[in-house]
Every structure is written in C-alpha cells, then in structure tokens.
C-alpha cells in the first residue's frame, strides 16, 4: 500500500535579494531543506521543533500555500507540484488547515454562518434550509450551539473561535488536516477541551492529521508518531512514546529535558541538559550537522559530515552519526 501523504526531498527556500536597481540574490533562507516523510491514512503525526525551525513553512508547503523549490508532495499517489493553481484550488477540499491564532484567522466581518457557508460551497452548492441545517450540524459537531450561527467572531472566546476554525476546516470534508499550533494561544483548561475535540473528530471522520506544536507533552499525548525538526531538517522520527521516553538524537534529548514537568518531586530529581546559545540562523546554517555547535556530544567528524536520517532501530529514524556511541 502506498502512503497517503508522501514528501520526497522537499525543499522550500526563500531568496534574499539586495540592491535596488541591480537586484542580486545574495543568499536564501532554507526553511525546509530536504525533508522526506510519509504519513499513513488515519495517522496522527506530531511535528515539533523550536520557533524558526521551519515547521510552519513545511505545513504551508504541503498545503501548497507556498510553492516548493524542489522535491514533491504526493497526496494519494498524485503529485501536487504538477497541478496548476486552478487545479490546486479544486483539490484543496481534500486538505485543510487550522491556524494558530483564532483571533487572526477568522474574518471579523463575517458571521459564523457566512464563514462556514463559504467553506461548504467548495463541495456542494447548498442553499436555503439545507444549508442552515448543514451549518447547524457542523456547529454541533464542534460543540457550539447552532443558535449562535449569526454571531460575529468577536462575540466568542478564544476557545470557541478555535472551534469555529475547526468547523471551517471540516466543512469541505477533507481527508488531511494540518493543525499549526492550534492550542498554543489557549489557556490550559480550554486547551484540553480542544485537544479532546480534535482527537474525537479524527477518529470519527478517519482524518489524517499533521499536528504542529512546540509543546512536547501535547504532541506526545495526541500523536501516533513524532517528527522532530531542527533548522529545516528532520533529526528524529519515531513512535510518540519512544521519541519522548527514549529519545535518540541529542537535540531531542535536550528538548525533552528542557520541558518543565508539573510535578515538583520528579522535577527536583531529574538532570537537565541546558543547551548553550540560540538556534543558529537558517541563512547560514553551520557546516556538517547543523546541531553540532550546540551539541554536547559533538566530535570533529560532526563538523564535516551532514548526517542522513537513517533507521537506527526498528521504525525509529535519527540523523546523527554518534547514536551508537552515546
């Protein structure tokens, strides 16, 4: 069986130009730099990494909101890169996105009804009573009372707005949803409501989900597999429990040890790996393994060789040459 979604050596670079009259390309930001990944139907893949590592660029490239520089995205065996923009618009009913900030992603001048009706029109031309019914059904699905459909986004709280955004993503009956930090802007007590809702909907509708977050505990809870990104590249991929409980790559180890645990007893006992410095600029990534300047295990060889993502254990991939030794 071929994969539902497949990324092959995907690259998205943003050129930087200098000069007003003679414009020259002086460098490029390699936001996504050679990512290969496949996702099965119905799978939930968590994508973690620090800000600026290219998570959102990857999401936007898969969504075809950004055109990739190189490589391809295949959805159900069809390459999306070859399609014209009109064809992409037509096929976008199959893949939808939920954004981070529900304050910015909903049009403040459109009522919930307008927003959802627009999304529904992509699939079928509904009008009058059936349309109202369908919208009511969608709102119930995400836990909003249908009688509020004539309200505007500002009349809702953050959590409720995120529910509207989820309903909008579900309206065209997509097969793939990419959720870009959908709970980061919400409070803890609201966050768990939205996570439960997303999980329930995924199971009911057999959705494939790519869940992007910087919060590892959220990603561990929700996803089947986790992919860890650093400076445009994947450094580790594996099942969620494995990656969090027995991380292989030194970066994943540091990332997980930096997450505070809400338990003072365990918190005092554990050893922290505190990384030095900030993530380097993606304009000029370090030579060799891009993590080597911050890596506590780096040796000379790491500065020369770019490590490939290889299967180190069964179904566990990591990009580090020293995994066997550390």
């Amino acid at each position: 069986m071929s994969a539902f979604l497949e990324l092959r050596d995907l690259r998205t670079h943003f050129p930087i130009y200098r000069g007003l009259i003679i414009r020259r390309k002086i460098a490029s930001v390699k936001a996504v730099d050679g990512i290969s990944l496949s996702v099965k139907k119905g799978e939930i893949l968590g994508l973690v990494g620090e800000s600026g590592c290219g998570k959102s660029s990857l999401a936007r490239t898969v969504m075809q909101l950004l055109r990739c520089t190189d490589g391809e995205v295949r959805l159900e065996g069809r390459s999306l890169a070859d399609l014209s923009s009109a064809e992409i618009r037509r096929s976008r009913v199959n893949f939808q996105m939920i954004f981070q900030d529900p304050y910015a992603s909903l049009n403040p001048r459109m009522t919930v009804f307008d927003t959802l009706a627009e999304a529904l029109q992509t699939r079928a031309k509904l009008r009058g009573k059936p349309l109202v019914q369908k919208i009511g059904e969608l709102m119930r699905q995400v836990g909003l009372p249908p009688k509020q459909m004539m309200r505007y986004p500002h009349e809702f709280s953050g959590g409720q707005r995120q529910r509207i955004a989820i309903a909008r993503a579900l309206a065209p009956q997509p097969k793939l949803i990419i959720a870009d930090e959908p709970v980061s802007a919400l409070d803890v007590s609201i966050q768990s409501q939205i996570l439960n809702l997303i999980l329930k909907l995924c199971r009911e509708m057999e959705l494939t989900l790519i869940f992007i977050s910087h919060d590892i505990s959220v990603v561990k809870y929700i996803s089947d597999r986790i992919a860890v990104m650093y400076l445009g590249k994947l450094v580790e991929v594996g099942s969620a429990v494995d990656v969090v409980e027995r991380p292989l790559h030194p970066y994943t180890r540091a990332l997980i040890s930096a997450v505070p645990i809400p338990d003072p007893v365990r918190e005092r006992q554990r050893q922290r790996i505190i990384l030095q410095g900030d993530p380097p600029s993606p304009i000029k990534p370090p030579a060799g393994c891009s993590f080597h300047p911050r890596c506590p295990f780096a040796v000379e060889k790491c500065e020369m060789e770019v490590p490939n993502l290889e299967e180190k254990e069964l179904a566990r991939f990591a990009a580090c040459i020293r995994i066997g030794e550390i």
Binding site: S51, H214, L255, P262
Partner: protein
C-alpha cells in the same frame, strides 16, 4: 516580618462596558529571599496584581479600590509618586513577558541598562557604562563591551530577555517581579533563562514573585504558590503540597487537565465552560459554574480563604467543611 505584605488588594477598571473587577481582594506575603509563584489563566488578574503594587496600572480607567501593600514600612498603594519612584526600578524591579515590546527600539541597549543607575544613583556616565557591561556579562552575554552598543532588534529573543534581566538586576533589587518571563521563548531557551534567574537570585539573595500560567514552570521554580482565578486567590500552599494535596477543585482539575500527566489514549480531563465574565459582580464562589462539586452553599455562603492545614489555604467552602476527601482521586473519577 515579611518583606512585602499585600492585603485585600482590589483593582477595578471602570470601562464603558461596566466595571471590570480584575483583582478582587487579593492578600499574600513574601519573605526575604523567597520565590513565590502566582499562577492563573489569562485574565485571572495575576499581572494586574503586580502592576498595582508598582503603580503601573493606568488610572483612569483603572482604580485601586482598596488594600495595602506594605514594603519596608511604606504602603506602596498610597505613598507619593516620589516615594514610589525611589523604590520602583531600584528596590523592586520587574521583568516583562515580551522583551520585544518592552525594550525601546530607538535606544541602544547600553542606554537602557544604564538608565536605572543614572536615575537612582550618583554615578558618572562612564562608571555606569562599565557597570552595565559587567551586568550584561553576568547574564551570560559574551562580548558584552561591543554588544552593549547594539540596538534591541540586533538581539535574538532569548538575548533580549537577558538584556531585560540585566536591566532589572543592575540596581541589586530586594524584590524581582517576573511577569511570564519565558512565555514568549522556546523551551530550550526557557530552561536557560530560568537557570539564570535562579542563579542571580542565589547570588543577590533577592525575593522573586514569579507570574506564570505554566504549572510545570511553577513546579521547578517556586517555593510556594498562589493560585488565582477570576481576580482572587483561591488556594495557596508550598509547591510540593499544592501538587500532592490540592485543596481547591480548580487547582485539582487544572492539574488533571495537563496532557503530560495523562496516559496516551485516555481522554483528557477537561474543565467545562470558560472563566466567568468579570464585568458582573460574582456572588459566592467564582468557580461554581465549572465545578464538579458545587452545591447550593457555594452560591450563598461568604467565600473566605481559610487554613485547614497549616501553611495551606483554600477558599473552597466544601473542602473547609471537610465534605470532600482527596480531590485528586475525586477529580479523576468525575
């Protein structure tokens, strides 16, 4: 005697939409060298509490309706502007959440770090600059002598927060108020900044008020914690006890809803509904609508903090009457 003692603080905002009771009767105290956490969701009044103490609440629309905040014999809420200026930035300083918006983009970092010294101490510009360079080195910025002449946009997020910390610590304050200092940062950088605050605290022996919404950060950082909800403190306890033996249903269910403590596949425990609208006066317990244990008495009786266990206070009337057993187990069962 505590270093700082806040009693019955009420800060209301008089807006066109009505009176917003942002802080409604908050009392807590801070001992010398202690780290106290204030946890709560957005809008629970944790920042406004601290802004009120330092006179940073814009008035109008804000108004401090009642309360005292005693620091070294001075009531911060009622002293003159001149007295407060002597304290703010010198004896009590503050780090803000977003280092991008709290640094002045037009001024070099050097001028911003030197400012507290030039304002509060008799010191020459030259000496102030030397001290500022040392302060910048202390927060772990290499090549400080050159970097101090740069502008804030030339620093990364973590570095900017280090600059903020250097600014706050340069006058050797007795109290540092840290308002979500790591919320805008990545976890790896967050770990660096927390470590830095911890080290400087030991070094200077100052007390820290740490405002956050992250229970994980509280667990690793604070000695005692005040949990705020809808403008009030609903529970306060030493950190270990707050986690091991929650005495307020809000705290108990908040802990239950953290994904980190859940087994995969179990549905996440959720607190239904949303926090109450603060523009209406709240009768009885503010958590009543979302509480699994609410009874009629929660609506009718006077809600006061009390201390069922020494050092551990709660405002839950049912817990105080001994009607609820171990909230942790109960919250799981609901």
């Amino acid at each position: 005697m505590p270093l700082l003692e806040v009693e019955n603080l009420r800060t209301y905002f008089h807006t066109r939409g009505g009176i917003i009771r942002a802080v409604d009767g908050v009392s807590f105290s801070l001992q010398e060298g202690e780290t106290v956490g204030i946890v709560g969701e957005s809008g629970s009044g944790k920042s406004v509490t601290c802004y009120s103490m330092l006179g940073l609440v814009p008035q109008p629309p804000g108004r401090i309706e009642s309360g005292t905040a005693r620091f070294d014999g001075i009531d911060l809420l009622h002293c003159s502007g001149e007295q407060l200026r002597q304290i703010r930035g010198k004896r009590i300083s503050m780090i803000f959440q977003d280092p991008m918006t709290s640094l002045n983009p037009y001024l070099r970092v050097s001028e911003q770090i030197m400012e507290p010294l030039l304002v509060h101490e008799k010191i020459s510009h030259r000496q102030a600059l030397l001290k500022a360079i040392v302060a910048l080195e202390e927060v772990g910025i290499q090549d400080a002598a050159r970097r101090i002449q740069l502008y804030p946009h030339q620093f990364s997020g973590g570095m900017r927060q280090r600059v903020m910390i250097a600014m706050a610590l340069i006058s050797r304050p007795e109290i540092l108020i840290a308002d979500e200092p790591t919320t805008a940062l990545d976890v790896t950088v967050q770990a660096q900044i927390l470590e830095l605050i911890r080290q400087s605290q030991q070094h200077l022996g100052m007390a820290v008020i740490f405002i956050t919404h992250d229970l994980g950060v509280v667990a690793s950082f604070c000695q005692s914690v005040n949990v705020m909800y809808a403008g009030r403190i609903v529970e306060s306890a030493p950190t270990e006890e707050l986690f091991a033996m929650p005495l307020h249903p809000y705290n108990a269910s908040l802990q239950q809803s953290i994904p980190a403590l859940h087994r995969k596949g179990d549905p996440l425990y959720t607190i239904p509904g949303a926090p109450p609208d603060l523009s209406h006066e709240i009768k009885g317990c503010p958590f009543i609508q979302r509480c699994a244990f609410a009874k009629e008495l929660c609506q009718t009786s006077e809600i006061d903090l009390d201390e069922p266990v020494p050092g551990h206070t709660t405002s839950c009337q049912r817990v105080l009457r001994g009607e609820l057993g171990d909230l942790r187990l109960k919250a799981q069962a609901v």
